[in-house]
């Protein structure tokens, strides 16, 4: 049963590492060079990498569509009652498996709960897990990877080996082992687990970006002028190394959401009474012959959400990394 969900998950994650890892770090120096070159042109005011990217993004329909979807998702994750007035935990067994009815456009599940309400409320768990896990992994991975790249030496060797160890843990197996002992029904154990297994990917990217940025002339110049390591890192290296991390993190967000759903589907992620698409898909999967609507709606919501975040990640990568186009 887990098969349909796992491969896309694994694949996208590794693609993200591959593309953004190689492309992001190498080409970044090139784009830097381009903008330095442009700066000598007398016509326009020099555009920074960020305003350049924003300029591109505004004209990218993929970005506009995915951004609108995400804004919508975030809004209903915070205020689900805006579009669903019911209570996702109020279930009437006598309505078990009934189809759509007035006020209940998606029908009812096995327990007689309203599928529409549950689908809307399910966004909260997914978005919370996605955003928090990404923020955590980006922060932890970015800081550790950045230090490793900047200081090098034993610090780098140690961190690289530690991240290798975490890379070696199969994510589904790890989830089954770690999360099956957790009885806490909130989202935080799942967030913690994803951060724990997600940070090395970002740390590798951050390390590569910092190493590349460190070799640039302006960093050497700053060093020659007597700047301390902290100042160099914060003023000169970090702003120029953060772009690839943002790209990978945005793409990872989508995969983290589908990972949460996978773990919940397997019964080790979020636990009832938390409302989650993964849980609903799991209980709907056995009823597919009797009540396909039960599976359709949460599965569609999950797919659209994951797609929106991955499309956003793609658009951001294109904008920050013009050479890939």
């Amino acid at each position: 049963m887990p098969e349909p969900l796992t491969p896309p998950n694994g694949r996208t994650a590794s693609e993200a590492i591959g593309n953004a890892g190689a492309g992001g770090t190498m080409d970044f120096a090139a784009s830097e060079a381009v903008s330095i070159g442009l700066a000598t042109a007398p016509t326009a005011r020099a555009r920074s990498l960020w305003s350049d990217a924003w300029h591109d993004l505004r004209r990218n329909p993929v970005f506009i569509v995915s951004a609108l979807l995400i804004v919508f998702l975030v809004v209903i994750a915070i205020w689900p009652q805006l579009i669903a007035t019911g209570n996702p935990l109020a279930c009437d067994i006598n309505k078990s498996l009934l189809g759509p009815a007035p006020g209940h456009p998606f029908g009812f599940d096995t327990q007689g709960c309203d599928v529409y309400t549950r689908t809307v409320y399910g966004a909260r768990a997914s978005v919370t897990v996605g955003v928090c896990a990404t923020a955590g992994a980006a922060l932890l991975g970015g800081v550790l990877g950045g230090f490793a790249g900047f200081f090098g030496g034993w610090w780098d060797a140690l961190l690289s080996r530690v991240s290798d160890i975490f890379f070696g843990i199969p994510i589904i197996l790890g989830g089954l082992v770690f999360l099956s002992v957790v009885t806490n029904a909130t989202v935080w154990p799942v967030v913690g687990f994803i951060v724990l297994l997600g940070w090395p990917q970002i740390a590798r990217i951050a390390r590569g970006a910092v190493i590349t940025a460190k070799q640039n002339d302006y960093v050497q110049a700053a060093r020659a002028l007597g700047a301390g390591p902290i100042r160099m890192l914060l003023r000169h290296i970090a702003p120029n190394a953060v772009a690839p991390v943002i790209v990978v993190a945005t793409i990872a967000l989508g995969t983290y959401i589908s990972l949460e759903a996978t773990l919940s589907f397997l019964g080790v992620g979020l636990k009832p009474p938390t409302v989650s698409w993964g849980i609903d898909i799991s209980s709907a999967s056995t009823q597919i012959r009797n009540a396909p609507h039960m599976l359709l709606w949460p599965a569609a919501a999950l797919s659209v959400t994951v797609l929106a975040f991955i499309m956003l990640g793609d658009a951001v990568r294109d904008a920050l990394d013009p050479k890939l186009r």
């Binding site: 935990l89 007689g112 009885t183 009832p272």
Partner: protein, 541 residues
Amino acid sequence: MSGSARLKWAVCASAIALTATACGGGGGGGGGANGIVRASWGDPQHPLEPANTNEVQGGKVLDMVFRGLKKYDPKTGAAQNWIADSISTSDQQNFTVKLKPGWKFSNGEPVTAHSFVDAWNYGALVTNKQLNSSFFSYIDGYGQVHPGSGNPTAQAMSGLVVKDDQTFTVKLSQKFSTWPDTLGYSAFYPLPRTFFTDHAGWLQKPVGDGPYAIDSYTKGSIMRLRKWDGYTGDDKAKNGGVDLRVYTDSNTAYTDLQAGNIDLVDDIPATQLRNVKRDLGPRYINQPAGIIQTIAFPMYDPRWNGTSMQKVRQGISMAIDRASITSKIFLNTRTPATDWTSPVLGDKGGYKAGLCGGVCTYSPSQAKKLIQEGGGLPGGQMKIGYNADTGSHKEWVDAVCNSINNSLGNDRACVGAPVGTFADFRNQITSKSETNPFRAGWQMDYPLIQDFLQPLYYTGGSSNDSHWSNADFDKLVDQANAESDSAKAVGDFQDAEKILAQQVPAIPLWYQNGNAGYSSNISNVALNQFSVPVYNDITVG
């Protein structure tokens, strides 16, 4: 190895081609008298010692591998003499058991009076830690081999005396008129000498005196049972053997049945009940069985055992809408329970509809009132423990919780607490580490009202998972057992049951039907009164 395997297949193929008869042992290939039945199963909780198995999956195997003094008729459930030639008494307390000659274990050893007496003494001795030891508690001398605390002062029960190879006598510590009818239960099976001389070896490959012998067992995967050709009983296996395959999800077993990967599923998942008639047609069995499902309270946990908690327990029972759940989740393959026994006992046997009274009647307002009067749910929230691998428990536990939540007007009052496997779940309960109310299904061991009450609710009973204890209840049960008139005995048991209706150590939910489905590969499939397939009657092909 591979060479011989290939040779075997070649022989099989030619045998089928030439005579179209069976070729057993080839992993289910072939049919007829040597065909192998492939059936669904779950790992048993413990190694298969007869006196240490009190759950259904292990019991299934024991019933295939062993035969006892009595056997329950698959259709009526009536106890009939099997290895026993006669069990006679004049005073309901002293019994003389005579065995039929000629019975053997599958290792060639004869079944004698010693085989029974030694097995029972082993099962009763406290240091052997057998789960079913309390089944021997009526035999005189049980107190010496199984004291409440401390070391045993004897190694064998004084009430058991071997007269000769075919005869032994039993003295009970009190009158117990229906005692002989309990002797078909697996705890009373005989054991060969090798059980005692090479215990570890025996556990690896249990040896019994039944129509099947265990060929191999791989935990978590498969147990292969093969017909024992030397079996002389009347119920010889009509197939070549049974492969019991372990499934951790009954839906997978059901899809495997449809795909033709197994032949017999005796646990139809609730989510497939809507389709099962269309899928299987006449190969679907749905019949009443001696099974009741309950929610038991951990009475060893002070949170659930306070004096005011009685009202809370009653209230929870009244908050459950049994009728809707049995019709919507189970499509009427369960019947709402109104007592603690089973309709298969019949009115004469002690079943009494409505004995539970108002406590088992759905009444949300009364439920809320009682729970509030009792001080509310402990900690404001309850969980219901269940195993997730068999029996479609998630669906009904969620429905029961929703019903309780709706009654209390609190959508987080109750939530299900799944445990991955049946064996883990049972371990948590027997070790008292389960602190939530938990699901407790009871499949009768023998069709007597005594079996629905004493093992479950008598102080120290073998399956008294709640560890509930009530002196009045115990006294009424003792009194009932001492009656020589069965109608009076039933009356006493029902009086004891009325105490359950007040104290509610366990909430009766519903009586369960036996549900099974089988492939077109096998025929003559039936469930007995215990809802276990009558494996030895199944024919293949």
